[in-house]
Symmetry: D2
Subunit: 150 residues, 4 copies
């Protein structure tokens, strides 16, 4: 397990990451402000108050951002399981169960279900922080043998 790799993957930003042309702009946009509350082997738990920049038209967390959190926080959980790569996405699915309004504290809890030599799967829950009420549950499958051909 490598907590530093998790931290680096989720929080490292360069001085101009918020410039639209920065190569890590989109990741920074979604991750900026994310607190890493817990890193265990195969599990990463993060939280933040939903930032206004990630709102959809209804003034709550955009569904595309929820899917992106399943992607990026889910990916970081493979690092917590000791892998040196977060691989390449094969499949993402998300069930939307409730909304999270701007400013609400949410937590993102990613648990590795399988980390094989070639394919890994992680389950991700997005919850309201106080009540634990589910906002979304998703799964993310990744191809982990990235040096060879998919």
């Amino acid at each position: 397990m490598d907590p530093e790799a998790v931290k680096k993957s989720l929080t490292e930003t360069t001085v101009d990451a918020f410039a639209l042309q920065s190569p890590c702009f989109f990741d920074t946009l979604v991750n900026d402000g994310l607190r890493i509350d817990l890193v265990e082997p195969g599990r990463v738990l993060c939280s933040y108050a939903v930032p206004p920049r990630l709102s959809g038209p209804g003034n709550y967390l955009h569904g595309g951002v929820v899917a992106t959190l399943v992607d990026v926080v889910g990916s970081s959980a493979f690092l917590s399981a000791g892998l040196r790569t977060t691989g390449v996405s094969l499949d993402i699915n998300v069930s939307y169960l409730d909304v999270a309004f701007i400013g609400e504290e949410i937590e993102i809890d990613a648990k590795v279900l399988r980390a094989g030599k070639t394919v890994g799967v992680v389950s991700v829950e997005v919850r309201k922080k106080g009540s634990g009420k589910l906002i979304a549950q998703g799964r993310h499958s990744k191809y982990l043998a990235v040096s060879s051909k998919l």
Copy 2:
């Protein structure tokens, strides 16, 4: 069918939409530059060259953006089917089949599979524009009776 509603949902931006605090910042971020190539009843076809701001770490279109395109272009297809609402997301799934590098021309093709009174489903393909090679295939289920309780 209402092509104007489709156009409005995908391309309307205000002067400061790119300000991080704008309520439509995230939609604008993903949609800005999108050309609407075709609107038929139950189908919307869009295209653009992958903008640098939507890159992931590998210099290709971020997986979270692909999921967001399945969300937003898929939603607009319900408007093309004559619905007055794009509803609320129930479920999104995406299979990632290839990558799209920054600058590559891609098209996003959304087709309504079902538009019932309560629940609708749309299928969305993301393809390379010249070859038609698939980048991703996804589905998006929505709750359409938004005035009543989910």
Copy 3:
């Protein structure tokens, strides 16, 4: 909560249910022998040794049966949550994580994530009974207002 309704939905068979023409043949085929180990509000836990009749070509539990267990045990969990209907399926997804050979003891654990007026979602895990090792994780969305139009 109605444990009797759960029991009835999963175990009731008629004398000739194993006749190919019986209207509940397929459910009986998959469910026969299933033990209901726990019923709580919103949760049903079942188990059995994988019966030879549910084998796929590789001598392990058929992937189609795993999806059917996500369907039927997942549906019964809505009864445990006090609903009078198990609704109509909207969406099922399953990630396959390991195989279960004929004769292996497995458990199927279904938890309701959301039971709204119209739409419900249940998460289902299939595990090896001793070790708890995951065989599959799935989700099942249902339309619950079955008297009105989908």
Copy 4:
């Protein structure tokens, strides 16, 4: 492409395949009677009248059978694409769009979206035969390098 391999995978039955203890009982149960209407490279189209044995409680095709058809007909499409294996299931998802009553003619249309060295994806539609109306749309991801470790 090998049409014979497709045919063999979907229709070969032994004299006692309908015996509950037969190793191919479940496949035979779902596939028996299936007509192979078309085999092209990467595509298999089948049809049959929904047999009574595959009914769910509502007198229409069981949702678990639809998922199994996405599994088995989808798998056969990899053989039509020239692969020598149908691989091991990674992920199956199905959206249910309409019901198919007992006796209704349905067709199952499987198209390979990707057949890489390691991972393949197939899209499967289940439709009413006359009208082409969709009953379900699903996707099935498979691990194709079965001799090596998942």
